[in-house]
């Protein structure tokens, strides 16, 4: 295509959107390229996966965790049985219906091939998609964006919160929206005189000017997608903050605005070195809003949930044995969660290595039998329909999974 024509076309469509707002995309049929959605939730701080999807069928589990093991199903504060061997933490009760509908699955003993037990390196690798390689400049979701078919707008990939996560950083433009009640509220730049003056200041072709214009466009789209909610909120008390609120915003945005295809959210507070608790306690208190938020996402995405895959992951697991303070230290293998209408749900996937002493990684941690990239690659290829020739761009040098995984329904 002639470059000038292309830019004209892009500019016109961009302007058109800004001018007519919500009605434009409400009237338009869903753009096929962005119909399939992906939401990634990163639990920063290493969630204790053995207390999320509990191997209650393994006696080693109870021996090695005398005060923090989640009791067997049927006992007080016990696990919710999944398949007779694994059980779900009772604080995740809100996800039980999705399991029963076959829209929730897990991959146990997943993780990174890199042995690091540093939170920051391990998160970095999970976001860059290149374990062991720190020089990678961009995040895998940004590379994914660049390789998916269709035209990208700055709101094709969004994240929630005041900083742009590594996973979305890179050449492709992405946007972040405010966390909590501030999302979708009008700001000073919505006042015409101020908006015009600043737009003149940021009219260049530099990074700052691009960020400014991306922000303006995203703001208009968010305001428009959330306007009903905002109007209601004005009448009563300010809406609460927290993961369920942000999840609700993301769901509404994705449902109302077909341009948004990828979303990323992060949650902290999982580094349970002391007083982790079992069926109740510190970990349970963090899992509960996470479960509620994920259930909210599923519900409020409405029919879009059937075209969505949600991946929940964390940088590494925690020691199989509890430590001296009724907590757990940094470990290795962990559980990955999958939700959505197209996943092969109702199943704990993966090759479970067990908790026998001689099967533990370095004598202390759950071994990794599934590379986290294998899971993500399958979601990219089979769900988002990434051409398989492009996979190398997202996850270079990805080793073949020895035992085949079938995470998506055929």
């Amino acid at each position: 295509m002639d470059r000038r024509k292309f830019i004209q076309a892009a500019t016109l469509s961009g302007m058109g959107l800004i001018a007519v707002g919500k009605s434009a995309w409400a009237a338009r049929s869903v753009e096929p390229a962005t119909e399939r959605k992906l939401i990634v939730v990163l639990l920063r701080g290493a969630v204790d996966g053995l207390n999320v999807v509990i191997p209650h069928g393994d006696p080693n589990y109870y021996q090695m965790r005398p005060t923090i093991a989640v009791p067997r199903p049927g006992q007080e504060d016990g696990a919710i049985d999944l398949d007779g061997y694994f059980g779900l933490h009772p604080a995740l009760i809100s996800l039980q219906p999705l399991w029963q509908q076959g829209k929730l699955a897990f991959v146990q003993a997943a993780g990174s091939p890199d042995p690091t037990r540093s939170h920051f390196d391990a998160q970095d690798f999970m976001e860059s998609g290149t374990p062991g390689r720190k020089a990678t400049a961009d995040g895998w979701m940004n590379r994914l964006l660049g390789n998916l078919p269709g035209v990208s707008t700055p709101t094709r990939a969004i994240s929630v919160g005041p900083v742009m996560p590594r996973i979305l950083s890179g050449h492709m433009a992405t946007t972040n929206i405010a966390s909590g009640a501030a999302a979708g509220r009008p700001g000073v730049l919505d006042r015409p005189a101020i908006g015009t003056a600043f737009s003149k200041l940021y009219q260049g072709q530099d990074a700052m000017s691009h960020a400014y214009r991306d922000a303006q466009q995203a703001h208009l789209e968010v305001m428009s997608s959330l306007e009903d909610e905002m109007r209601n909120a004005d009448n009563g008390a300010p809406p609460p903050n927290g993961f369920p609120v942000d999840a609700s915003h993301v769901a509404r945005l994705m449902r109302n605005n077909p341009r948004i295809q990828l979303a990323f959210m992060a949650l902290g507070g999982w580094d349970t070195h002391a007083n982790e608790g079992a069926g109740k306690g510190q970990l349970a208190n963090h899992l509960s809003p996470l479960g509620q938020g994920l259930a909210t996402l599923a519900r409020e995405l409405g029919p879009t949930f059937d075209d969505t895959t949600i991946v929940v992951m964390s940088e590494f697991g925690r020691t199989v044995r509890q430590n001296g303070n009724n907590g757990t230290d940094h470990g290795h293998g962990n559980v990955m969660w999958l939700l959505g209408g197209r996943i092969a749900g109702g199943k704990v996937h993966g090759d479970w290595p067990g908790l026998d002493e001689n099967r533990l990684y370095e004598g202390r941690d759950l071994a990794v039998t599934t590379d986290f990239r294998t899971v993500l690659a399958q979601v990219a290829e089979r769900h988002l329909q990434l051409p398989d020739t492009r996979l190398e761009q997202i996850f270079p040098a990805l080793p073949r999974q020895v035992k085949p995984l079938n995470l998506m329904r055929v």
């Binding site: 295509m1 470059r3 292309f6 830019i7 892009a10 920063r44 005060t67 037990r117 540093s118 939170h119 920051f120 390196d121 400049a137 961009d138 660049g146 035209v151 707008t153 700055p154 919160g161 005041p162 900083v163 950083s169 890179g170 050449h171 433009a173 946007t175 972040n176 929206i177 700001g187 000073v188 730049l189 005189a193 101020i194 003056a197 600043f198 003149k200 200041l201 260049g204 072709q205 530099d206 990074a207 700052m208 960020a211 400014y212 922000a215 303006q216 995203a218 703001h219 902290g268 507070g269 580094d271 070195h273 002391a274 430590n323 001296g324 303070n325 907590g327 230290d329 940094h330 370095e362």
Partner: protein, 553 residues
């Protein structure tokens, strides 16, 4: 002013040619080219990327070479040199600061800042600090108050909780007010910059349990006295402070199989190792993640540090012999015989003098003061000074502030301010007299950098990549506009019961655009100055404070 617009995304794909390697102004020109390339990438990303991209990059890449070459690599002017030290060693200029630094000379200014004890604090600041009673209380008293409130909570949950919340709120607000008032008003600016730098390096999160009341003492006793002193002293002070022992759980790490004397039926009493502090001590505080230690070294260091705890009644460090692992250890190639607290002191000595630590600290200092990608030669230079001087922070900084890299025109105005630096520099530039710190704390929270609110031990980053994003930019502009219009209630504490104070709080005093323009003279690009001049006079201050130029330093 080109460097001001440096993009913070990935390294450019541009390969280094012979020409680029041998050009006399190699560094600067390459940087400009890289910036150009980044911008081009940024532009391309919104378009279809297929065949279009290759031609476009090629054409503009050639143009970039042509444009970049004639740009002068001139030395900084006297005014720019003064602005540079005020931007990097301080939180930006206040009215009159540039002229004053130019009068005294930049070298003299640096020397003075490196010796804060020679600078007299103004009486007004001393008065302000004297009014903050909570920051002077000992850890012991604060813990006692915290525990009393906790006891109360057991008997009378409503009142006890209320009391504890009130106590914590007061301490938090006063601790923050002390930090911010010094950062804005203290003439010992470098000291304040280094308090923030080292607090962040040895980060402790205010929101974790007892740390709510320990933060003030941690900054006062473990950080502030050592910010320009010896690294080993700083390391030792943080390692033994209850705030750190509590935050990274070492206070309850014990020898495996340890049995407390009085278990009192509490099955949850500590018994065994906790690796948390030992790992972060090597990864974050000293050697760095690539410092050459193994999981075994983490576990062994945790054993060495068993028994490093604190007395909750006294609020002070205690070495608990009975909790200490009495076995011999092998750590980082050393065979260590059981020797009580001395084992841990030996480990801290070794960590403080390790070349990996010298490199790690030097890298962080160079990244903070010079450039997001610190010049490797400078890092080497600083690491050598660090080792030679026995970890003398003042000596290392002196080398840094007189290095050619620090004065390289390519690094002038090239750092993107963190939210903390941005908010403080805006308050200083507008000559704000802050009495009410709540709006300042609110702005920092909204911008993603709540004061004392970093949950994780790695602290906040200080690169453009970490902080420049669409939402942040909008929020900075919101803050700049409110500040410029005088709509932040900074000068009075809003008091709903006091109608007069409420009225006063509504008295907006906008920031005078002429005064602000004079303070920022030499800092704003021609384009920004033109946009400001063309705008409504009531918006001019907002535009200056919300400009891309002012967001860099």
């Amino acid at each position: 002013m080109l460097a001001v617009f440096a993009a913070g995304t990935s390294a450019s794909a541009m390969a280094e040619t012979d020409w680029a390697k041998h050009h006399p102004r190699r560094h600067e020109v390459n940087k400009r080219l890289n910036n150009q390339n980044r911008r081009i990438h940024q532009r391309v990303r919104t378009e279809e990327r297929i065949h279009l991209k290759r031609h476009f990059v090629l054409i503009v890449g050639v143009l970039a070479c042509v444009i970049a070459l004639p740009a002068p690599a001139a030395e900084l002017t006297g005014q720019q040199r003064a602005l540079h030290v005020l931007n990097r060693l301080a939180y930006g200029p206040r009215p009159g600061d540039v002229a004053q630094v130019m009068r005294m000379g930049v070298d003299q200014y640096i020397d003075e800042q490196l010796h804060p004890e020679r600078i007299v604090l103004p009486a007004s600041l001393n008065r302000q600090l004297a009014n903050l009673s909570a920051i002077k209380k000992s850890d012991r008293d604060l813990i006692a108050e915290f525990r009393d409130a906790a006891k109360e909570a057991k008997q009378d949950p409503e009142r006890g909780k209320q009391e504890r919340r009130e106590l914590v709120k007061q301490i938090a607000l006063q601790t923050a007010a002390a930090r911010l008032s010094r950062a804005i008003d203290s003439p010992r600016q470098l000291e304040e910059v280094m308090v923030d730098f080292w607090f962040n390096h040895f980060n402790v999160f205010e929101g974790k349990g007892l740390d709510r009341v320990l933060i003030a003492g941690y900054e006062r006793e473990a950080i502030r006295p050592h910010v320009l002193g010896r690294f080993r002293d700083l390391l030792g002070a943080t390692a033994t402070h209850p705030a750190m022992l509590f935050y990274l759980d070492n206070w309850q790490s014990t020898a495996p199989g340890f049995k407390p004397l009085f278990r009192g039926g509490n099955k949850q009493a500590p018994s065994g190792l906790n690796e948390n502090y030992a790992r972060e001590l090597m990864e974050l505080h000293t050697l760095g993640v690539d410092g050459g230690y193994t999981q075994k070294d983490v576990t062994e260091l945790a054993r060495i540090l068993t028994g490093w705890t604190f007395d909750p009644r006294e609020g002070s460090f205690r070495f608990a012999e009975r909790r200490h692992d009495q076995g011999d250890k092998t750590w980082m190639g050393h065979s260590i015989n059981a020797n009580g607290q001395a084992e841990g002191e030996f480990a801290l000595d070794e960590l403080a003098k390790s070349p990996a630590t010298a490199r790690h600290i030097s890298y962080k200092l160079a990244q903070y003061f010079v450039a997001d990608q610190p010049p490797p030669h400078l890092v080497e230079q600083l690491a050598r000074r660090f080792t030679q001087s026995g970890g003398d922070i003042r000596a290392v900084l002196n080398t840094l502030f007189h290095s050619p890299e620090f004065w390289d025109p390519a690094n002038y105005g090239g750092k993107f301010k963190t939210p903390y630096q941005y908010v403080l520099s805006a308050l200083r530039a507008s000559d704000a007299h802050v009495v009410n710190y709540l709006p300042v704390l609110g702005a920092l929270r909204q911008l993603g950098m709540p004061l004392y609110g970093c949950q994780t031990p790695d602290g906040y980053k200080n690169t453009q990549e970490a902080w420049l994003n669409p939402d942040a930019l909008t929020r900075r502009i919101n803050f700049a506009t409110a500040l410029a219009a005088g709509r932040l209630p900074l000068s009075t504490i809003p008091d709903r019961d006091n109608a007069h104070a409420m009225e006063q709080a509504k008295n907006f005093t906008p920031v005078d655009a002429k005064v602000l323009a004079a303070t920022l003279d030499g800092l704003l690009s021609e384009q920004t100055r033109a946009s400001v001049a063309a705008a409504d006079s009531r918006l001019q201050s907002a535009l200056m404070l919300g400009s891309p130029d002012f967001m860099h330093h």
